[in-house]
């Protein structure tokens, strides 16, 4: 953890022992329950169940969208109708009835904008409290008029633990929260505006910045890309939009918090990030959902465009409800994430910690089009009980001297199935390119499975591709060592797994790294003994 190396000991949570204690505490405190499994009783405004052209038009109308956007959605819907649900992933789930879903749900309190926190639905505020969002940010998130214009540094003092001591400004994170289908508010918008950064909900961007949305939406993940992306294109209700102008280093981390609250509601958010020439942005995404007996659908699309010399970091902690210990309920997470390194020397880094969802189908990818562009993928996927994850990445090398690096750590416990599926493709013109892939799997218990399905295609000889994969179990010597020092079995496993996934945890921004380490422990609860 390089960021911590130069920090005086006293201020730092000691990386080794400190974290482990936290992990252990978290496990104890939660005692096997899904931390985010509450539901907020907020009055909702639903669109009728099912999917049709009318519903697509309704979603578009609810978002006050211009005609071209409605047309775009209808086009996507027409395509989707002709598409088939993919069945190649190593996941099994009952047939989804796409007509038995709500495609739009919106907290009623958003019909009119509240003037102050007092007017905001208290249930919604409760939600934010449980999510751990600082009070002053809540105002902004709740859409209180005029809030968020002045950002006080104290707001963020709690987050500064991971900061380097020489940083005079405390670390700021701008948050966009998406509650069921609607973006409920974005913090620090004014301050970002000063830097020229646009960070808002995608529905707002469609209204306010149509030229940017028209130019980039669907340019990385086209409407007909795949079944779930097609569905998303037709019915996405909200999501985040980021535009960083040329040469701008985004002054703070941007963050989106997704939450599915309503029952039988699919969440279909759409994220579009554009990093113009020479810009930089780091983006964090987190997600939770309440505990339910029935499975819920989530089909998101994230598109990233990195122009010349731009750099984008995209980090995800995915903690949707994974279903109970008998495999009942949970989120079906079908996500298409893709970055297009359009310009020379563009760089995109995906980092993901996948601990939630009963079914995960997700392959954050990079198209390395610009010469000397770079793509990185760091992933931890933990499956326990009856969870199934089929996740990985695609690195498509088109430009000369492009580089990619894949580090994937899969951990499987209980009756879970965990698959890494990836593609590394070196096109004939991608001369002198380089790929390195490392996929490691760890098995805990003899009822689970860990699988690796890499595809490697090399069409020129000046490029080098290296792929390595290993599968093993938690080392008995390490377990013995930990237990001898007084840890119980579960603590020891959490510690060892955290060590196993170290390379990926280190790639996360500090705020997420802490949360992720705790999640690792929580997710594996009940997997031993």
């Amino acid at each position: 953890m390089t960021a911590l190396d130069n920090v005086p000991k006293a201020q730092t949570p000691e990386v080794k022992e400190g974290v482990d204690e936290e992990t252990v505490e978290a496990v104890r405190a939660l005692s096997g329950k899904y931390k985010y499994g509450w539901e907020t009783d907020v009055e909702m405004d639903y669109a009728p169940k099912g999917l049709s052209e009318d519903i697509v038009r309704l979603i578009s109308a609810k978002n006050d969208e211009p005609e071209w956007m409605t047309e775009w959605r209808l086009q996507a819907y027409a395509r989707w109708l002709k598409m088939e649900e993919p069945d190649w992933a190593m996941v099994e789930y009952p047939q989804i009835d796409f007509q038995d879903q709500y495609y739009y749900a919106r907290p009623k309190s958003f019909e009119t904008k509240p003037k102050s926190l007092d007017e905001v639905d208290p249930k919604l505020l409760e939600t934010y409290n449980k999510l751990g969002i600082p009070l002053k940010e809540q105002e902004v998130l709740a859409g209180v008029e005029g809030a968020g214009e002045v950002a006080t540094p104290e707001d963020n003092s709690t987050r500064a633990a991971g900061e380097a001591p020489d940083a005079t400004e405390p670390r700021k994170v701008a948050v966009d929260a998406v509650f069921d289908s609607v973006s409920v508010g974005t913090t620090f918008q004014k301050e970002l505006e000063k830097a020229g950064v646009i960070f808002c909900s995608i529905s707002e961007a469609i209204r306010e910045h149509p030229e940017l949305v028209k130019k980039y939406l669907g340019s990385v993940v086209p409407q007909g890309d795949n079944f779930f992306a097609g569905l998303n294109s037709a019915v996405f209700s909200d999501g985040s939009f980021v535009y960083v102008p040329p040469g701008v280093r985004c002054p703070m981390e941007l963050s989106t918090y997704f939450r599915i609250n309503a029952e039988n509601t699919g969440q279909f958010e759409r994220t579009l990030i554009i990093a113009d020439k020479g810009s930089y942005v780091s983006y964090l995404e987190g997600c939770t959902a309440p505990q339910r007996d029935t499975a819920q659908l989530h089909a998101a699309v994230v598109e990233i465009i990195a122009e010349e010399d731009a750099e984008v970091k995209y980090s995800t902690v995915q903690n949707w409800y994974p279903g109970d210990e008998n495999g009942k309920g949970g989120i079906y997470n079908f996500v298409t994430k893709r970055a297009d390194c359009r310009g020379d020397r563009a760089k995109v880094m995906w980092t993901q910690v996948e601990t939630g969802s009963s079914v995960t189908w997700k392959y954050p990818s990079c198209i390395l089009r610009g010469d000397d562009s770079q793509g990185e993928f760091y992933s931890i996927a933990i499956t326990n009980n009856w969870q199934q994850a089929d996740t990985g990445t695609k690195m498509i090398h088109l430009g000369k001297r492009t580089k990619s690096r894949i580090v994937s750590k899969g951990i499987s416990a209980g009756h879970a199935q965990n698959t890494y599926r990836g593609l590394v493709s070196m096109h004939p013109k991608a001369k002198d390119s380089r790929n390195f892939t490392q996929c490691d799997s760890l098995l805990i218990g003899d009822k689970c499975g860990a699988h690796t399905v890499p595809y490697i295609e090399v069409k020129n000889n000046s490029s080098r591709v290296e792929h390595e994969a290993t599968t093993s179990k938690v080392d008995e010597d390490q377990m013995f060592y930990c237990q001898q020092r007084g840890m119980d079995e579960e603590e020891a496993v959490a510690l060892i797994v955290n060590g196993f996934a170290k390379e990926v945890l280190q790639a996360l921004p500090m705020e997420f790294a802490m949360e992720a380490q705790q999640l690792v422990a929580i997710s594996l609860e009940g997997s031993v003994g």
Partner: protein, 436 residues
């Protein structure tokens, strides 16, 4: 194209292909085995370009009614394994040639023609013919293997009861430009017995070969094969093996030239402490070279070891494919599985495609795979050139060194040496395409 449409297209193409065919004459049990295999072909459908398992290789020329023409190629080299003391069994365009073959008696083995065995009412091969092939479709459809079982016209069946003094050498000669040969061999290695099989030759314009090997407890089976050098030949081969306790199964395949080669291997480790090594090297020259090694190893017992080592050297637009899989079933603890596929691309036109898979359902295992692809290491080349070696010579040396790791998998040093010499010859020919 929609899945249903592909399925329909496959079914129609399969029926069209089967329409003109009749099952070869054979006795009652064999007839049954062939019919069962034919039923498998029908239910799976012949391979289609859109099948996941044929993602990197176009099966069209292997399933077409008529084999594309393949001219006979004179290498000018002495036949492989000529100097080896062996029991020679010769097939010309897929037909057993008793004149050219040795007397089929050797202490420690019983060897017969497949057609003779199939004509008999009672024969041990009844429990083997089509059985391991039939079991191989559990995870993946292999319709061409079932097709081979249904329509094989010749082959040998070998029962190994002891340790024969010399190897059985299967020689496949190619004399007709339109030959379409379908051979199927069965080998049963009894407890504690051992056999080595050598195979070489281009066989036919289009060659389909099935080999089923049942190795009983503590038995051992070795296979060293070199697929013939005819540029235009096509081959689809399937090696199917079932391994008992403490048994050993080792194969090595050298492929040089050939417009289309698909070599599949399917091995089940069903007895504890069985060992399976599958290795291969392919040298491809030219746009008309396509080689596909597809390997599937299933661990279904404890303490077993499997090893896959594959090396490809490709130039002038050649294509090499590797699809390898290690499947560890629940309960197959203490498995040691290893797989490596590497490719050396000697120029910018050649292509390597790989899909090295692991599917693991047991926790106490150590499985790993690796795959690399790239050009000759510039530093190593520089080192040799700095010591006065000519560029071409240095490249040849480094290429040989690259392939050496796969050749080391051959236990018998004499066979390995003979194949090594052929490799050197291939390297020399590189600037003289006309000589092949």
């Amino acid at each position: 194209m929609a899945k249903a449409a592909i399925k329909q297209q496959k079914a129609e193409a399969t029926e069209a292909r089967l329409a003109g065919l009749t099952l070869p004459e054979s006795g009652a049990w064999a007839r049954e085995a062939r019919e069962a295999a034919l039923e498998r072909v029908r239910s799976m459908g012949l391979p289609h370009r859109r099948d996941e398992y044929w993602k990197f290789t176009d099966p069209t020329s292997l399933t077409a009614e008529e084999p594309p023409q393949a001219s006979v190629f004179e290498t000018g080299e002495p036949p492989l394994f000529d100097g080896v003391d062996r029991l020679k069994v010769v097939f010309v365009d897929g037909v057993f040639d008793p004149e050219a073959s040795d007397d089929l008696s050797l202490e420690g083995i019983e060897i017969e023609r497949l057609s003779e065995a199939m004509a008999k009412d009672i024969h041990w091969v009844r429990d083997l013919y089509g059985k391991i092939e039939g079991a191989s479709h559990e995870k993946v459809d292999r319709p061409l293997a079932a097709f081979n079982t249904a329509f094989a016209t010749d082959g040998v069946v070998i029962r190994v009861t002891g340790k024969p003094s010399k190897p059985v050498s299967l020689v496949y000669l190619h004399k007709s430009e339109r030959s379409d040969a379908i051979l199927h061999h069965c080998v049963k290695v009894e407890e504690g017995a051992e056999l080595t099989i050598l195979e070489n030759g281009p066989a036919a314009a289009r060659f389909s070969k099935g080999l089923e090997v049942d190795v009983a407890d503590t038995g051992a089976f070795h296979l060293v094969r070199a697929q013939g050098r005819d540029h235009e030949r096509r081959a689809v081969t399937g090696t199917f093996a079932r391994l008992g306790r403490e048994s050993t199964f080792k194969t090595f395949t050298l492929t040089v030239n050939g417009v289309m080669t698909r070599n599949e291997a399917y091995v089940e480790l069903t007895g504890d402490e069985a060992v399976c090594h599958i290795a291969g090297a392919c040298l491809g020259d030219g746009r008309d070279f396509h080689h596909d090694a597809t390997v599937f190893v299933t661990h279904d017992a404890v303490n077993c070891e499997s090893r896959q080592v594959f090396k490809n050297v490709l130039r002038n637009g050649a294509t090499g494919v590797f699809q390898g899989k290690i499947l560890v079933k629940q309960g197959a603890q203490k498995t040691d599985g290893y797989q490596i596929s590497q490719s050396l691309l000697l120029d910018d036109d050649s292509t390597f495609q790989a899909k090295p898979e692991l599917e693991i359902y047991a926790d106490d295992v150590a499985c790993s795979h690796g795959s690399t692809s790239g050009a000759i290491d510039a530093d190593a080349l520089y080192y040799l050139r700095a010591r006065g070696m000519a560029k071409a010579e240095a490249e040849n040396l480094l290429t040989l060194a690259f392939v050496a790791e796969a050749l080391e998998e051959i236990e018998n040093e004499a066979y390995a040496e003979e194949l090594r010499e052929r490799l050197a010859g291939w390297l020399e020919r590189r600037r003289d395409r006309a000589a092949g």
